[in-house]
């Protein structure tokens, strides 16, 4: 096992472990913190994969923005206490079985996805320059459209959380 493989394996183990802790922690705030840790791990994996820009963006957007939003909402709703009711054991067992079987099946389906190694791959694709060229050239239209998505999401969020009493039932 080469050094790179060793590092990758350790990183992978840490990623899976922190992801598991997200699900298994009973305290919501702890879950959030573990999720942030998971994102850092995944960013490390991105760096392993020569995707430096995505790694940084992942930390900025996910860990920095989205997870802070989650944490903020948790605090706002005063849900930081460990108040979640227990799910039934039967449900837990069947969920675990389902998850395990799903993982097995997915791996079985995906493991042959690669056929050959592509030689002379460019190591610099993950750099911001390369991605910027691609994003503002080939994917400029989706990029612009995504701004509309953001606008509508923003409007939706404002509309939904307005102070007026809204009846859901």
């Amino acid at each position: 096992m080469s050094t790179v493989e060793l590092i990758a394996t350790i990183l992978g183990g840490l990623t899976v472990g922190s992801a598991l802790m997200v699900v298994l922690s009973t305290h919501p705030v702890r879950s959030v913190l573990f999720l942030i840790l998971t994102f850092f791990m995944i960013s490390a994996n991105y760096i392993m994969l020569n995707a430096q820009f995505i790694a940084i963006v992942n930390i900025i957007v996910y860990a920095g923005a989205i997870m802070v939003l989650f944490l903020f909402v948790l605090m706002l709703l005063n849900l930081s206490k460990d108040t979640e009711p227990k799910t039934s054991v039967l449900m837990k067992i069947s969920a675990a079985i389902a998850g395990g079987v799903l993982a097995t099946v997915l791996v079985a389906a995906l493991k042959d996805a690669a056929f050959e190694t592509i030689e002379n791959a460019d190591n610099t694709i993950g750099l911001v320059e390369q991605l910027g060229m691609l994003l503002f050239d080939k994917y400029v239209l989706p990029f612009e459209v995504s701004s509309i998505l953001f606008i509508s999401a923003m409007v939706g969020a404002v509309l939904l959380s307005k102070k007026e009493k809204q009846i859901i039932d």
Partner: protein, 640 residues
């Protein structure tokens, strides 16, 4: 406009009338609704007259193609030759008069607009029946008049006392006609099978010109099936019992549908297919004897009926039987002649009876009438003319047409002639009995009713007078040769022989003049004798039909309609009821219910189980979704 263009118009007007009255009639004033319907029919009559006068060759007018597939081509087309135009004239002519009569007769009815809708619809259907260019169109019209007849017989279905009976009568007529219709339909299918077409023109050309005929059995099957259809519509044994019951409908309906027009549909069918019947002698034999039996049986039953309309109904059946005898003898033009005169005088008699009933405030029992001759003069005189015409009084229309039939019967066989004479004699007897009992003697109902007796309004008496005139002079249409030599005689004969397929190829042996004279003499003698005897019995002695309990054996037999209904009840209704009961208890309530309830229980049971899956919790739904995804992926993995 050419005849091709006029023909659809002929049909269109009654349809428009029916449409307007059927949709907006409720809001229209009565006078408008009635006049509209009458006018539409009359316009049709005028168009028919125009076409009739300008018709040299048979004309076919295509409306649209109904079915066009590999082996079958069906057109909705109209076909005018002298036969169909003659029938059209009768239908629209008599129809207009009866529409006019109805305006007065139905004036107090709340379903006024509905009545005229049905009447116009009937005229439309009947026109399709006679004007259609193929047997399929005929079938359309055939069913159309059937449904109109049903609607009109049961017109007063909501009557408090007799509503149920009216409904039952309508149902009976409908079901009995269905039996006949089935025969007709099978006949049409067989015809399609053996000729490959239902067009009159093509079938007649194949039979008459190309001499392509199906084999004897097939031809027999076709003709007998057509005849079964005819027995249903034209009320012949064994399917005749609906017609007397059909008198439950309003009287103008009885006059128009159940005497003058619809019941002649069967006769029209046979005349139209004469070339087929020509090659099926056995069927003709059957027609002859069925007609004969019907004529005698119905006349016998009519002898002791006490309902004024029932007498006329059985009289109609009897006359139709007489016409079928003519058909059996291949005297088609004579049959149409008698259809024509019969339409005149029977419509007259029915309308007259309607006028009488109107005067009697709805009473139909002749035992309660009497002495009406001075109270309702016009009705009396016209009714008398009708009676004389149907009884074959010399120089009245019935005399000529009936005499022709008797003449042909005499030429065929003496036995049939004698049996027909018996039937004709009975006709005269019951008609004079009816006339004298109703119009002579003393009034037998309560003073209250007597006080109300009044002559009908002009809209009712006018048709009576017109029909009376026609009943008198109707004989002119087909004067026998002995009266006038040369032109003017046999007008209808010549007319129908001119361009109606098949009729010109039939050469009947006409009795010679001496025989004709002798036969006429016999007929006149019979008529006068019965008139004389009846006037003594009912006028001089003033005897009144006795109550049911005092009737002698044969009178009861006649009064109870020879127990035909009871016979059918035992033969058909009871077994069917028994079968129904058996099927109900075994098949329906045991097997079918068992299966159905089993299905229900299974569904309910499985529903109970499956219901538990629907927890409403998102988690469990996702769980099942994941299982589903696993299933999918596994399936494709295995497949690969």
């Amino acid at each position: 406009m050419s005849i091709q263009q006029l023909l659809p118009l002929l049909l269109l007007f009654p349809l428009i009338g029916a449409f307007i009255n059927g949709t907006a009639g409720k809001k229209l004033p009565k006078i408008v609704a009635g006049s509209l319907a009458t006018l539409m029919t009359f316009v049709s009559f005028l168009i028919a007259l125009t076409i009739f006068l300008n018709l040299d060759q048979p004309v076919r007018s295509l409306l649209f193609t109904m079915i066009d597939i590999d082996s079958l081509h069906l057109d909705a087309a109209l076909y005018a030759d002298n036969l169909s135009m003659w029938m059209t004239l009768i239908i629209t002519g008599v129809g207009s008069l009866i529409h006019l009569f109805s305006m007065g007769y139905m004036s107090h009815d709340k379903g006024y607009y509905k009545f005229f809708t049905y009447l116009n619809l009937f005229i439309f259907s009947m026109l399709i029946l006679v004007l259609g260019s193929n047997y399929f169109m005929l079938f359309f019209g055939w069913e159309g008049v059937g449904i109109c007849s049903y609607l009109l017989i049961g017109f007063h279905y909501d009557d408090e006392q007799k509503g149920l009976l009216n409904g039952l009568a309508a149902r009976k007529a409908f079901i009995m006609n269905r039996i006949g219709d089935l025969g007709l339909l099978i006949g049409l299918f067989l015809m399609l099978l053996s000729f490959g077409t239902l067009e009159y023109e093509q079938v007649s050309r194949m039979v008459l010109v190309d001499k392509i005929l199906p084999n004897g059995n097939m031809l027999f099957a076709i003709t007998i099936c057509l005849f079964i259809g005819a027995t249903g519509k034209s009320a012949q044994i064994p399917l005749f019992t609906w017609l007397p019951d059909a008198m439950a409908g309003p009287t103008p309906v009885s006059a128009l549908i159940h005497a003058a027009t619809m019941v002649t549909a069967g006769i029209f069918l046979v005349v139209r297919s004469n070339y087929l019947f020509h090659y099926a002698p056995f069927t003709r034999e059957i027609i002859l004897y069925i007609g004969l039996a019907t004529s005698i049986v119905a006349a016998f039953i009519a002898l002791r009926q006490n309902d004024i309309k029932k007498v006329l109904a059985y009289s109609t059946v009897s006359q139709l039987g007489l016409i079928f005898v003519a058909l059996g003898l291949e005297a088609y033009t004579t049959a149409i002649f008698h259809v024509t005169t019969h339409a005149f005088f029977k419509a007259l008699l029915f309308l007259g009876s309607g006028s009488v009933i109107h005067a009697m405030s709805g009473e139909q029992d002749i035992r309660k009438m009497g002495g009406l001759k001075d109270k309702i003069r016009i009705t009396h005189i016209t009714f008398l003319i009708g009676t004389l015409a149907i009884s074959g009084f010399p120089l009245f229309s019935g005399f000529y047409s009936k005499d022709e039939i008797l003449g042909y019967a005499f030429g065929h066989s003496l036995t049939i002639y004698i049996l027909l004479v018996i039937s004709v004699t009975m006709t005269a007897i019951y008609m004079f009995r009816l006339y004298f009992v109703v119009f002579h003697g003393t009034f037998r109902d309560s003073k209250d009713v007597e006080h109300h007796v009044h002559e009908s309004p002009l809209s009712m008496t006018l048709p009576l007078m017109v029909l009376a005139v026609l009943s008198v002079i109707g004989g002119v249409l087909n004067l026998p040769g002995i009266f006038l030599h040369g032109s003017g005689t046999h007008f209808l004969n010549n007319l129908l022989n001119k361009n109606v397929a098949g009729l010109d190829q039939i050469h009947n042996v006409h009795p010679d003049h001496t025989t004709t004279l002798i036969l006429m003499g016999v007929a006149v003698a019979i008529c006068l004798t019965t008139l004389f005897i009846s006037s003594i019995v009912y006028k001089k002695k003033g005897s009144v039909p006795s109550e049911d309990a005092q009737l002698s054996a044969w009178e009861t037999f006649s009064n109870k309609k020879m127990y035909w209904d009871e016979l059918y009840d035992i033969l058909f209704v009871k077994p069917i009821e028994w079968f129904s009961k058996v099927f109900y208890t075994i098949v329906d309530s045991f097997i079918l219910s068992g299966i159905i309830e089993g299905v229900v229980r299974t569904v309910a049971f499985s529903g109970d189980i499956v219901r538990k899956w629907q927890t409403g919790k998102v988690n469990s739904y996702i769980l099942w979704m994941v299982f589903g995804i696993i299933g999918f992926i596994t399936y494709y993995l295995i497949k690969l």
